[in-house]
Symmetry: C2
Amino acid sequence: MSDLLRRLRGRGWRLTSQRRVVAEVLDGDHVHLTADEVHLRAAARLPEISRATVYNTLGELVALGEVLEVSTVGRAKRYDPNARRPHQHLVCSGCGSVRDVHPVGDALGDLPEAERFGFTVGSVEVTYRGLCPGCA
Amino acid sequence: MSDLLRRLRGRGWRLTSQRRVVAEVLDGDHVHLTADEVHLRAAARLPEISRATVYNTLGELVALGEVLEVSTVGRAKRYDPNARRPHQHLVCSGCGSVRDVHPVGDALGDLPEAERFGFTVGSVEVTYRGLCPGCA
DNA sequence: TCCTACGATGGACTTCGTCCAAGTCAAGAA
DNA sequence: TTCTTGACTTGGACGAAGTCCATCGTAGGA
């Protein structure tokens, strides 16, 4: 059983075959699948798994902080299992592919108090846009 | 006629009443409307304007670089007419409202060459997330 | 004023995601 | 091991956001 599954059991997650398959599909680095791709890959191993279950499970993994939602303008959300190591994203404007990157600096600290307008700022998301070697 | 409309005419834009109304709705600072809100406000002045026209016009304004699309996870896109002055966004996780902010620092420079993986990085988008005073 | 290519229309369609009632099953209790 | 129960899954309906397209209308140049 993967580390992820072990942690989930430790949190009282009921371990069903569907959840196991979804968690396994999301294993690895630089994985940024859409819900539909997750469903496709999960269905390859467990043909009867439903779309609703995939959405439910992804939502739970996000709520538990095990998986990040990556926002992509005008496309389907992507899910990033690498939530435990903080990182940002580099997105190709051509083909939509995503790389994890680790900028230096402190983006959160770069926002002065005067620019927070009374908001309680909890996180910052930095997305670099450009063209990958294949699309350039 | 606003500056925006003047610029658009200069670029050969055919000025129809529909486009004029959409451009007028998007005038001002700290305006971050969804396509639907734009349609609603435009229809208040020009009742027969169609959704398709609003989408077309917004798409053209984005392509011309006059308006920015603001990505919001799991919600409708918002359109930001303040494309000419560089800024970033502070988004309320509760109600989805958006403020323009101006962080210090150089987010683009914070990405080391070794972390660019051969990409031609053109821009960076920084989104701060938190709760506005009303939702906190 | 007339022409015509560009733009607008609205309704069908697609994509992405959520909801729900009914059926199923993991895992603790006995 | 079997029972029990409530959490989980299912599939289909639904909804929101956005796109497409055939047809009609009109801005603006001749």
